[in-house]
């Protein structure tokens, strides 16, 4: 028999008179039961989730079917009209999408490679490695606006560090207007993004690398595997979870580089640097809440699709795990 001092959160089965004697399916089900009060514990988190995520998302769904301007009491329901216009008759949205894909591709590929390279070189816990890790991680703790303004002055074609250095070393022919060059501007922004976040991704990779058992490398060496073979056969598959996190996180960051873009290009951004998040912001600033809400939903769906596709690709390349 249970005693009255038994804690409230103990399982039903523990209080059950038959506890210890029950067997079979019914017993297993009872053993898995929790006290109903425990269902109240997630309530605060759930409330926050509902108020700050679920409800705004539902509202966005509703607004996306209207031409609401953000302040009027009157609006018209336009059905799927906003989505149709975005996908078939909005060159600015398509331009932002193209820019965003270019930006994402460059950032995901080069930031991942760069972060992984740094992690491999700095994986050992020596004093020098620790110091260098701190230095490479440092940009991550800066505010994005500070980073944007710093790089804005680096890229300035007249007073900026980049052109000054090129002139100093005699490479005047490579000086550029950087962000003023519409063809290349988005790639210069990508370089800033990589500088900003590579250190953060390096830390994730280092954690992944340090979890690989050293014995695997020892066995591989005995079997005569070279460094490259060790990397492709052991390291790469074993750091699959870290890579998945890095790639997914980098992708989402690439789509949300909003403050960096606005800091570098001013508001509104030029077409050459306009990405989806800044385009949506312009929509809201332009008093097109319904339309911007529809853009936001497409934006959400697009990120989800890209991240899912990436996970599939990574699973395929790291299937040996």
């Amino acid at each position: 028999m249970p005693t009255t001092t038994e804690p409230e959160w103990s399982t039903e089965s523990a209080r059950s008179p038959g506890h210890g004697r029950t067997s079979g399916r019914r017993g297993r089900r009872r053993a898995g039961r929790v006290h109903p009060a425990l269902y109240l514990f997630p309530l605060p988190a759930l409330a926050i989730y509902v108020v700050f995520f679920a409800m705004p998302t539902l509202q966005a769904v509703q607004y996306s079917g209207t031409n609401w301007d953000g302040f009027s009491a009157d609006y018209d329901n336009v059905g799927l009209g906003n989505f149709e216009r975005i996908l078939t008759g909005d060159d600015l949205f398509m331009n932002a999408l193209t820019n965003n894909l270019k930006f994402m591709l460059v950032v995901v590929v080069f930031q991942t490679i760069f972060a992984l390279g740094l992690a491999i070189f700095l994986v050992k816990n020596t004093t020098a490695s620790t110091l260098l890790r701190g230095l490479f991680f440092f940009p991550t703790v800066l505010s994005s606006v500070s980073v944007a303004y710093t790089w804005k002055f680096i890229y300035d074609p007249n007073f900026g560090l980049a052109n000054r250095v090129l002139e100093f070393v005699g490479l005047e022919q490579f000086t550029s207007s950087y962000l003023g060059n519409d063809t290349a501007a988005i790639y210069w922004v990508a370089i800033t993004q990589i500088w900003f976040h590579a250190g953060q991704m390096m830390v994730i990779f280092i954690a992944g690398l340090q979890s690989v058992p050293a014995e695997l490398y020892e066995v591989a060496e005995i079997d005569g595997a070279g460094k490259w073979k060790q990397f492709t056969a052991i390291t790469w598959p074993m750091i699959a979870p870290a890579t998945a996190i890095v790639v997914a996180y980098t992708t989402i960051q690439s789509f949300k580089a909003f403050d960096l873009i606005l800091g570098l290009s001013g508001n509104p951004p030029r077409y050459s640097m306009d990405i989806l998040s800044t385009r949506i912001y312009t929509g809201f600033a332009n008093s097109e809440f319904g339309y911007a809400a529809a853009e936001s939903l497409i934006f959400m769906a697009f990120i989800a699709a890209v991240v899912l596709a990436q996970r599939r690709i990574l699973k395929f390349t790291q299937k040996d795990v």
Binding site: Y39, Q62, L92, G180, N267
Partner: protein, 439 residues
Amino acid sequence: MNQKSHGTMYTRRRILQMFAASGLVAVPAACAGPGSGGGGDQGGGGGEALPTDGPVEGEISFAHWRAEDQAVLEKMFARFSEEYPDASVSQDISPSNDYQSNALQRIRSGNVGDLFVAFRGAQFVDMVDAGLYADLSGTDVVERYDPALIDVGQSDGTQYGLPYQLVFNQPVSNLDILESVGVTEPPPDWDSFLAMCEDVVAAGLVPMAWPGGEIGNAGHLFNCMVMNNAPSDDMCAKIESGEYACTDDWFLTTLAQYAELRPYFQPNATGTAVEPAQQLFAQGDAALLVTGSFHITAVRELGAQFPVGMAPPVTVSADERKYVGIRNATFILGVNTASDNQAGALELLRFLSETEAASTYANGTVQHLTVADVTYDNEDLAATSDWLSKETLLAPRFQFTDLDIRNAAEQACIDVVGGDSPEQAAEKAQGIIDQRIGS
């Protein structure tokens, strides 16, 4: 006993039922009709009469975007509090870009901005439509302003707001450089403007420091470039309505003139932000800063010692000229209809509109004002005060109420400076505008 207490506790089924019920409540709450929240008086203009007298007490929130004016305003508001000991003023300042994007929603809540401001153009129109501005028509405060300068604060004949600042969105000049090349008066026509630029180049200097990397600041030049070229003064409104197009002759002429200016901008002008352009001008390497009078303070803070004037490009011959420059009346003050302290806000507006307070603000922030009889003691204000009486056009770029259309037209000018042909840039811009008009 436990069995008994168990009966009073929530079962899992009941808790899940509660979650489901909460969800059912949340869904319709989330789907409440757009526009069903917030304050303001929907549907244009103020509704209830503005209390013209009442107790001036409590904290009065003043929402604006001029962080650079904060210290001057603090001193002025201290004087206000001496006059009204039960009242204090807090400044709610946002960066201008944020203010442009978010102010309407924030002020509409009534929590900030008992007294607030708006940019001329789209923001003022939206704020009037949202019913944020109380009707100031017939109040004594309106009489303190120059009547010729406050019509931008009207809508359908009602005076909702009072534009406070009078700025000149035209190139600021280094008078020492211009004098050294023999220019003592603003060039009266296009040929003389180009000749002036040529002389500055010959002197080894940059004629025009232009922030072509920032569309918002780059666009100030657009005002001067179209003021005499366009067939009518409401050219930007007509581009937006579809009556005019960027592919029209007058716009192509304007773009061709931008192309003529290419050699006179600093190198890589389309990648230059506003701060480096100011620096170039402040250190005496450029003859003109191609933004506006509102950047004179920044240039002085960068150490510029030379006398300044203004030299806008007149794009036609002297006999075809209608305007010699551009002005803009902005910082449109208004009393918030959603405010609980309208009496205090109106009294603060009265205070700002007094000649003495306005003179303090003007000289402290180096800006001309629309308030009548202001005394301009500041050297730069005094030197540029002759522009107050010249034939200037109210900045046309703020006729655009659609930011994407405005950006398309102004981006075409940047593209031409960057190397595109006028026809190519015009086609591209008009393509975007056609989509916007058709939407």
